[in-house]
């Protein structure tokens, strides 16, 4: 057999798997987004209605806009908080920094937990009767002693953000430690000798050199925040009301709970648009020259 044919034959199984699990569902969902697409209505999966699902979402569905707002706020908060905490931790833990490496292995623990598990455990922690955090916050901040965290829209949102930040800090920290460690030490020392204070060294030398890694981290985290589903599902299930209903959760609810698979597909494709931009930006940074 010629090498030319052989190489295609060898990658064929992988291509098939990707096609069956990714490309095909993607195409199918795009098709469905232009149909009536009700699971409980026979034939509706082939009943085309043009852009109606899309216009419906934009024009007649406050719940859609609610989930967009929730997702946007959730994304901004989690990205900013996670990045800031991770950067602070990375600065402390970078080799040659203040702390030695033993701590770094502990860091990975939260990341080893699945988002669903994080959701469940935070739900327990904030249980009004036997939740550890609930009790702890009650003792530390007495006015919060009697609040029922997950029943209050704002607090429930805060708990969701907290759980997300907690779960993502380790990964971001490790990536940033890698980024910091690859900054040539001589540049930092040169700046000190040149007369820069610790803060100036950070601002003028460390941060600009960390920028590419930081950009990748922020883009990546944004993608994951926008997609958040399982944690929210286990923690608040979008509630109370729709206070913590992210887009993914909204899509799930419409598609699986209400059986509006056509409408859900169209919203899912609306979400694809920002994702494409972000993924493109991410790829640009990761595969950039030099």
């Amino acid at each position: 057999m010629r090498d030319r044919t052989l190489k295609y034959l060898l990658v064929a199984p992988a291509v098939l798997v990707v096609f069956a699990t990714t490309i095909w569902p993607l195409i199918e969902s795009l098709r469905l987004s232009f149909t009536v697409g009700r699971l409980n209505k026979p034939g509706s999966l082939d009943q085309y209605i043009g852009w109606e699902n899309y216009t419906w979402a934009f024009l007649y569905e406050p719940a859609f806009w609610n989930s967009v707002t929730v997702t946007a706020i959730y994304t901004v908060l989690t990205v900013v908080l996670t990045t800031l905490f991770a950067l602070a931790l990375a600065l402390l833990l970078v080799p040659g920094g203040r702390f030695r490496s033993g701590v770094q292995t502990l860091l990975i623990l939260p990341f080893a937990m699945s988002p669903a598990l994080i959701g469940v455990s935070f739900r327990f922690m904030f249980n009004p009767e036997f939740g550890l955090f609930d009790a702890l916050f009650g003792v530390m901040i007495p006015p919060l002693a009697d609040v029922s965290w997950l029943a209050d829209p704002v607090l429930a949102f805060a708990v969701c953000v907290m759980a997300d930040v907690w779960g993502w800090i380790p990964f971001l920290t490790l990536v940033l430690i890698g980024g910091l460690a690859s900054i040539p030490r001589e540049t930092l020392e040169a700046a000190q000798v040149d007369g820069a204070s610790g803060w100036r060294v950070f601002r003028d030398i460390t941060l600009p050199q960390l920028a590419p890694v930081l950009a990748v981290v922020i883009i990546l985290k944004t993608i994951f925040s926008l997609k958040t589903f399982d944690q929210i599902f286990m923690l608040t299930n979008g509630g109370p009301g729709t206070a913590t209903q992210t887009l993914s959760h909204y899509i799930y609810f419409n598609g699986m709970k209400y059986g509006q698979i056509g409408y859900a597909s169209s919203v899912a494709w609306l979400m694809v648009i920002p994702m494409i931009f972000l993924t493109y930006a991410y790829a640009r940074y990761v595969f950039r020259k030099n």
């Binding site: 001589e186 040169a190 000190q192 000798v193 040149d194 007369g195 820069a196 600009p208 050199q209």
Partner: protein, 361 residues
């Protein structure tokens, strides 16, 4: 501008001693070179002066100030790092301007000073480039310009020429020398290259294993080495060192071959030092003793003969027209006026003991 004093400076990591109880007084405007093989503690000494490394013991004075507890930024020094430490995200201009910016120099003063520093190192045409768009020699000059853009109390240079190719190194060496005489700022310069040390220094401190072996002018350490280490480290080729003994005014190598008449007391074990320039190669039977040519090298400017004599190798420098064949038997004569004697045990120069070499008189 200031004098610098290191007093009993010591740096230990655990039980490992990097710099051992080092004391040097560097005069205002002096160019001091720390010279020694790799790993002898040169960089560590320099980093302690800069404040990048904390001394385990001892004091560092810059001018009349004890700076042990001062941050690097408050020591008013400028440093050229071995790998230059240029800021990769800044242009050449911003690199050079950084020490001024960070010290809140008025804006209108920055540009002319950067221009002047760039001119001094012939970089004016490259101010808009990033460091990665420059050659090794140009990067080195950016690092230099960044150091001279201010007038610090003290320059620190850590093997600034070691990353350049041989030819560039020689020309940059001359530029450095010119610049240092022009600027007249106290300088501590680290190198493992004895030619750099000899050519640039007002004084050289030869270091080994964290200890200063000898501190003196280039002439002093070349003409008057204090011990075997300094004798063997300075000079190219290194000084010939022959183990042997002295009896009745004759030095004989370890296997009993008489090599040179010497006006010194008898001694059963001694190391004789003689530079390649102080050995003459002539025809067989014409010299003090005969030797066999082990290798003949012609460098163009002169010739180097490695000969076997009394069971030991001796390097002889001849003029450029000297021609000898390998395995040829020739005669050699050592210049009795320029011999050094060392104690093979301690490595110390024999001066004021019973045995003395002619150079010590």
């Amino acid at each position: 501008m200031a004098s610098v004093s290191l007093r009993n400076l010591t740096k230990r990591w655990g039980s490992f001693v990097g710099v051992d109880n080092q004391s040097i007084d560097i005069a205002d405007r002096e160019f001091l070179v720390l010279l020694g093989p790799s790993g002898c503690g040169k960089t560590t000494t320099m980093r302690m002066i800069a404040g990048l490394e904390e001394p385990t013991d001892g004091e560092i004075w810059i001018g009349d100030q004890l700076v042990n507890d001062a941050l690097p930024k408050d020591r008013d020094v400028a440093m050229v790092f071995q790998n230059y430490g240029l800021y990769p995200h800044m242009t050449v201009y911003d690199n050079i301007a950084y020490p001024l910016k960070v010290r809140d120099t008025p804006k209108e003063n920055i540009a002319p000073r950067v221009q002047r520093a760039a001119e001094q190192v012939e970089l004016s045409g490259f101010l808009d480039r990033k460091p990665k768009e420059l050659s090794g020699g140009q990067r080195q000059r950016v690092a230099l310009a960044r150091a001279i853009v201010r007038t610090p109390q003290l320059f620190l240079m850590d093997e600034p020429l070691s990353n350049l190719d041989a030819k560039l190194r020689v020309s940059m060496r001359a530029e450095l020398k010119h610049l240092s005489r022009e600027l007249k700022i106290t300088t501590v310069y680290v190198t493992h290259d004895q030619i750099e040390a000899m050519t640039l220094a007002d004084r050289v401190a030869v270091m080994k294993d964290g200890v200063i072996q000898q501190l003196g002018t280039p002439d002093e350490i070349y003409d008057d080495p204090q011990n075997l280490f300094v004798a063997g480290f300075i000079g190219s080729p290194a000084m010939n060192l022959v183990n042997g003994s002295i009896a009745n005014g004759v030095f004989s190598s370890a296997d009993g071959t008489p090599m040179v008449n010497i006006d010194a007391d008898d001694c059963s074990s001694v190391t004789l030092g003689v530079r390649a320039d102080d050995v003459t190669a002539i025809d067989k039977g014409q010299g003090f003793t005969d030797a066999v040519v082990y290798a003949y090298e012609n460098t163009g400017e002169n010739t180097l003969l490695t000969v076997l004599c009394g069971g030991q190798r001796i390097i002889v420098r001849g003029d450029r027209h000297l021609r000898k064949e390998q395995d040829e038997v020739i005669g050699i004569t050592l210049n009795a006026a320029n011999l050094y004697l060392f104690d093979p045990e301690s490595g110390l120069r024999l001066r004021d003991t019973g045995v003395r070499d002619n150079r010590s008189r």
